[in-house]
Symmetry: C2
Subunit: 450 residues, 2 copies
C-alpha cells in the first residue's frame, strides 16, 4: 500500500509526539502486513507504542506477521491474561496454536487457563498435540460442515450459525452420522438447489482429503497437483477434524524452495536476513569446513605430484580450471535431479535412462569445451603434452561429473537422505579432488609419450 500520509517518517514522528490518532489512521488505511513492515524500522519502545494503540483484532493480525523475535519481544511485555484475551481469542485456531507454540510450556498453560471461550481453547489444545510439520500441525478447526441427512434449507440456516465463527467460507463439508467426511457441497450447488432438496441429493462425493499425520511436504504436493484452495483433514478413521488453506501451504512451498536453494549455496539450518553475525556463522561455517577438508585432500593429490610439477611447472596453471569445470557440470546435473525430485517429475525407476541421458549431455558438453580449449592451447601453449593433457582431462572430468551429479542425488533420495545435500559444496569439492587426480594421471601418461 502506498499512502502519502503514512510512511516511516510520519509514523516515527507521531510516536515521538504521542499522536495516537496517527496510529488509528494507520490501522484504517493499511493492512496488517503493511504495518508489520513498518515494525522492521521501529525500536522496541516505538513498536510497543504502536502495538498498544491498535485495536486488539488488528494488533493480533499484525503480531502474526512479525518476525518471531519481534513477536517474542512484544509478548514479553504482556500478561498471560492479555495474551489470552487480546491475541489468542482474536486469532484462528491454527495461528493461535502457532503463537502458543512459541511460548514456554508453563506460559502456554497459563495463557490457556485464562481463556474464557472454552470451545476455542479446547480446539487450540487439540491442535497443539500435532507435530508442527504434519497436516495436523498446519490445519485449523474453523470450518463449516453439514450432515448428509439435512435439507438444503436447514443447511443454510445451520451455516449461518457456523459461519459467524468462520472468516471465509470456502466450502461446506458433508459428513455422515459418525462425523466421517463423505463429500463436499459447493456454495454454488447450495445456492442453486431446488426447493426441498436434501444435502445427500446435491453433494459431491469426489473429495480430496489428507490424513492428520501426512507430512507438510505431502500436503503441499497435493495442493500443487490438484490446484487446491483448501483441503479437509481427516483422522485415522476418516472423521473430519480440520482444514488447511492454501496460504499456509504457500509458506510451506516457499520454505522448501528456500531450503533447496540454500543447500546448493552451502547454507544449513534456518536463516533469515536479520540473523546476528554469530547465527550467520553457524549456518555457513559447517559447509565451509567440509569444503576445506576437501581442499586439503585435493592438496594431497597435487602434492603427491610435486616432482612432475617441478619438471613441468606449466602444468600447475590448468589445475583450477579442470577442477572448476567438473564442479560446474556436477552442480548443473545434480540441480536438475534435485528439482525433478522436488517436483515429483523424476521417479526412482528413471535412474538408468536418466544416467544415460546425462552421460550423453556430458559427452557433448565435454566435446565442445575440450575442443575449444584444444584450439586455444594449440595456438598459445608451447607444450604439446600439456595441450593434450588439458583437453583429455577436461573431457574426462566433465563426463565423470555429469554421471556423478546425476547418480549421487538419486542414490541419496533412494536412501531417504535429502538429495539437496548433494548439490553445492559437496559436489564441487568432490570434483576438485577428482579433477586434480584425473589431470595428473592423464598428464603422467602424456608427458611420458611426448
Amino acid at each position: 500500500m502506498e499512502n502519502i500520509l503514512i510512511n516511516i517518517t510520519t509514523l516515527k514522528n507521531a510516536i515521538k509526539h504521542n499522536d495516537a490518532a496517527h496510529i488509528h489512521l494507520l490501522e484504517q488505511e493499511t493492512y496488517a502486513p503493511d504495518v508489520a513492515v513498518f515494525f522492521n524500522d521501529l525500536n522496541d519502545k516505538e513498536a510497543q507504542y504502536v502495538y498498544a494503540n491498535l485495536s486488539p483484532g488488528f494488533a493480533a493480525e499484525v503480531l502474526l506477521e512479525l518476525d518471531e523475535e519481534q513477536r517474542e519481544q512484544i509478548m514479553s511485555e504482556l500478561t498471560s491474561k492479555e495474551i489470552a484475551e487480546q491475541i489468542i481469542d482474536n486469532l484462528d485456531t491454527d495461528d493461535a496454536a502457532d503463537v502458543l507454540n512459541e511460548l514456554s510450556e508453563e506460559k502456554q498453560e497459563e495463557v490457556l487457563a485464562q481463556m474464557t471461550n472454552i470451545e476455542h481453547s479446547s480446539d487450540i489444545v487439540d491442535l497443539l498435540n500435532y507435530d508442527e510439520d504434519s497436516a495436523g500441525g498446519l490445519m485449523a478447526k474453523e470450518l463449516v460442515q453439514a450432515n448428509a441427512n439435512w435439507s438444503a434449507q436447514s443447511c443454510i440456516v445451520e451455516m449461518r450459525t457456523q459461519a459467524e465463527k468462520v472468516e471465509t467460507v470456502y466450502a461446506v463439508y458433508v459428513v455422515d452420522d459418525d462425523e466421517k467426511l463423505i463429500g463436499l457441497l459447493s456454495l454454488k450447488k447450495l445456492l442453486l438447489a431446488p426447493q426441498g432438496a436434501m444435502v445427500k441429493d446435491i453433494y459431491d462425493q469426489d473429495i480430496i482429503s489428507v490424513k492428520t499425520n501426512a507430512s507438510k511436504e505431502e500436503v503441499a504436493q497435493l495442493f500443487k497437483k490438484y490446484d487446491l484452495v483448501v483441503i479437509p483433514v481427516i483422522d485415522t478413521i476418516g472423521r473430519l477434524v480440520g482444514r488447511i488453506t492454501v496460504d499456509d501451504v504457500v509458506d510451506v512451498m516457499q520454505e522448501e524452495a528456500e531450503k533447496d536453494y540454500q543447500s546448493m549455496a552451502g547454507i544449513t539450518g534456518d536463516i533469515n536476513e536479520n540473523d546476528s553475525v554469530f547465527e550467520s556463522l553457524k549456518s555457513r561455517l559447517p559447509w565451509l569446513l567440509v569444503a576445506m577438508v576437501g581442499g586439503v585432500l585435493g592438496s594431497r593429490v597435487i602434492a603427491s605430484h610435486e616432482n612432475v610439477i617441478r619438471l613441468h611447472p606449466e602444468m600447475a596453471s590448468f589445475i583450477p580450471m579442470i577442477a572448476a569445470m567438473g564442479g560446474n557440470v556436477g552442480v548443473q546435473s545434480s540441480a536438475i535431479i534435485v528439482q525433478g525430485l522436488a517436483n515429483n517429475s523424476i521417479q526412482i525407476k528413471d535412474i538408468t535412462p536418466r544416467l544415460f541421458k546425462e552421460l550423453r549431455t556430458g559427452l557433448l558438453n565435454g566435446l565442445v569445451c575440450s575442443s575449444l580449449i584444444l584450439v586455444y592451447n594449440l595456438f598459445t601453449c608451447d607444450t604439446l603434452a600439456l595441450t593434450y593433457t588439458v583437453s583429455i582431462s577436461l573431457m574426462s572430468a566433465i563426463v565423470f561429473a555429469s554421471v556423478m551429479g546425476t547418480f549421487v542425488p538419486l542414490f541419496l533420495n533412494k536412501y531417504k537422505i535429502d538429495p539437496a545435500l548433494a548439490t553445492g559444496p559437496f559436489i564441487t569439492t568432490t570434483n576438485d579432488i577428482l579433477g586434480a587426480f584425473i589431470y595428473f594421471t592423464v598428464g603422467y601418461f602424456l608427458y611420458g609419450m611426448f
Copy 2:
C-alpha cells in the same frame, strides 16, 4: 491417488485390447492430474486412444495438465471445430486463452470462428490481448459481481444466474453503476444479511486489487504478502475486468523459485526433465563456456608465476583450495542477498549495513578456516613460507569473496539486472581468478621474507 485396479500396466493392457470401459473407470476413479501422469508413459497412439475415450469436459482438464509438447501432439490430430467444441468451450477463459496462445495465429482464428458461445469467445479474445506475463495475462473472466444498489435478496437471485457459469464462487465483487470495483461482499455476509438489506449497506470497502498491467511477479508478491486466495483485476480507470486465483499464482511462485535455483546452478532458459539432449546442452553450455573463459584467465594468472612454481612446486598444491573457498563463501553471501531481494526483505537502502555485516561474517569465517589450516600446515608442511601464505591468502580470499558476493547482486539489482546472475558460475569463476592472484601475491612477499 492410489488405486489397485488402475495402474500403468492395466492401462496399457486395456488400450491394447481396445477396452474403453477401463478408460471410463479411469475417469471415474481418478482426477485429471492423475491421468496426465499416466500420459508420460504412453506413446502417441496410446495417448490418442485414452484421450478419445474420455468425456470432453474431463479430456479438456487432462489436456491442461499435460506438457506443452504432449498437448500439441494431441491437438494436432483434432480439427479446429473439435478444438473449439471439445476443448475451448470446456475450459475457463484463462485456461482457454493459454491453450489458444500455444497455437499459430491462423489456427487461433479458425478455432475462435468455430465457437458458438459468443460471450465465452469474446471473453477469450479479450484475454488474448494481454501480455502473458502480466496480471491481464493471468486473469480469468469468470466472476460473480453485484451492483451496490441491489438488495441482498436480488443479489442472491442474480448470483444464481451468474454462478451457473462460475465453477467456484470465492467472493462477490461489488461495483458501482460505472462498473468500477468498489468493494467485496463475502458469501458469509450475504448469508447473514438481515431481511431487506441493500448490498451497499453490507459490503466491505476494504479490497486489494491489481491493475491489468502489473507484472506476474508483483501479483505473486501481493498474494504472498496479504495471504490472498483470489484478487480482482481492474483496468486503468478502475473497472472490474477479471480475477486471478491462487493456483495460477502458485505456478508463478514455483517458476520464480526454480529460475533462481537454476541460475545458481548455471542453467539458463526454460528447462524440463523431458528436454532432449540438444535442449539440455543449450541450457547448460552457455555458463560452462563463461566458466571456461574464466578458467583460461585464471590459468594466465598462474602461468605468469611459472618461475615461482618451478622454484617452489609445493605452492601448486593449495591453488585449488584457495580458489574454491573463495567461491564457496561468495556463493553463500550472494545466495542470501538474492533470496532476500526475492522476498522483498532486503531493500536498496540496506546496502551499507549489509556489506558491513557480511564483512564481519567473512572475517570470522576467514579467521576460523585460516587458523585451522595454519595448525594443519604447521604439523604437516615443511615450508614455513607456504604455511603462512596459505593461511593469509585464505583469509584474504574469504573476506574478499564475502564483500563481493554481497555487493555484486545488490549492484545488479540496482541497475534492474536479475541479481540471480551473480550467483553460481559467475561468482565461483571470478573467485577462482582472484584466489589465484591473491595466493601468488601473498606468496611472492612471504617467500621473499623467509
